[in-house]
Symmetry: C2
DNA sequence: GTCTATATACGGATAGAC
DNA sequence: GTCTATCCGTATATAGAC
């Protein structure tokens, strides 16, 4: 699988994501026309990511957001109850998106080695497809309230566990060497994250997402087999 | 080398760091007694790290900092000209500290393999010793002005280059297999960073810094030799 | 649904007493 | 060197017109 093929296969688009956001939070949203809401959520999210990328979410004022979206302050508050709620909406949707895609991608694969490459690759490709979303989710997790922070940490453990399960399965089948699989999983996650955290670095060096994913996989597999 | 041995060897302490900060920025500091200044800088930095760890630097108000340090607002502004300058001081000092320690640690080692383990280990141990400083430097880099941001990125490239040089040396000597050394270096950096970015995770699982460093090294070497 | 105008609170920074 | 008191700009959020 290449990144181009991944994009074809995946059904998640900005629009479907925004539709989900709208339906999940309908009780707090003043806007009644779904079409309007979806269109504006897309604009709002893009603006949040753009502004927060350099300043951070805290430093982004509602006036900044108003200017960037072209919506007035009053209008914006029709889409969420407070600035904090906006943050939570984005974080929650991010988690549900990752969970859905990752669980889906390994269902049809049995071979542990192939399973491992698939899940690593899928995660990196997804992070490329919605990179601003991933970057934002990581960097702004600290601004969450305790409850939501716990949920974010649980998500980290959850995706790590997916990797651990595959590594253990591989060991059972005699494909992978016995190791501290949980620690291996942590290293894999660290490498996956670097792709969206250090965008500027890889862009400057013209590393493609396919190159990067393949390199991570070659590193991981050579370790698991050694 | 273990973490305990590293701590013995290293001459950098909070105090020496604060002394450097004082001397570097003396022209902007109203406080004339070095001893007072060093003592209070230590208090101030600790407070900044503590508050920023959860809220972020932007969200930390000078009133928060005043409360946590026990110094009044007026007193605080004797130690730096503005909140932004405080951020820059911390970032600059962090860079000079890392540079000093890393350059120093490989001077006496010739063997490429040993050189590689040493530099990986030293970086992780240093990040453990002044973890709040590392975490802060990474998370708050975005709040820097363009010039300082460039310096921070240059620092990332610099430490990466140290790794690349070692890997190339190793290839020349026939120890390491030919690879994309720069990409390998990036992966190493990603793994190093995870130790201070995800403190909560490793703490919860009782992973020691020695365990972590050794595991990273075993992963990297098995890849470089494969 | 979206706008403008505004209420109210809090931010960084400084002046001047001690 | 440190404190208290205060200036003044900007923050989030809402009320009410269109």
């Amino acid at each position: 699988m290449t990144y181009a093929e991944f994009k074809q296969k995946i059904t998640e688009t900005k629009q479907t994501i925004c539709r989900e956001v709208y339906r999940e939070n309908q009780e707090n949203i003043r806007i009644k026309k779904e079409k309007t809401a979806i269109k504006n959520f897309e604009i709002i999210f893009d603006a949040v990511f753009k502004i927060s990328y350099t300043k951070g979410f805290q430093a982004m004022s509602m006036r900044d957001l108003s200017r960037e979206t072209g919506l007035s302050m009053g209008a914006l508050y029709g889409y969420f109850k407070s600035k904090d709620e906006l943050l939570e909406i984005i974080q929650r949707q991010g988690r549900s998106m990752v969970k859905g895609v990752l669980v889906d991608c390994i269902k049809t694969v049995d071979n542990p080695m192939e399973k491992l490459s698939t899940v690593i690759k899928t995660h990196i490709y997804l992070s490329e497809m919605v990179r601003p979303w991933f970057f934002f989710t990581f960097m702004e997790a600290r601004n969450l309230c305790e409850e939501e922070l716990k949920a974010a940490q649980a998500m980290e453990s959850y995706t790590e566990q997916i990797l651990v399960d595959i590594l253990e399965l591989g060991e059972t089948k005699g494909v992978f060497k016995p190791k501290n699989h949980r620690l291996t999983a942590s290293l894999i996650k660290a490498m996956q994250q670097d792709w969206y955290l250090k965008r500027w670095k890889y862009k400057k060096r013209n590393i493609t997402v396919d190159e990067y994913a393949d390199y991570v996989i070659s590193c991981v597999t050579s370790f698991c087999l050694a």
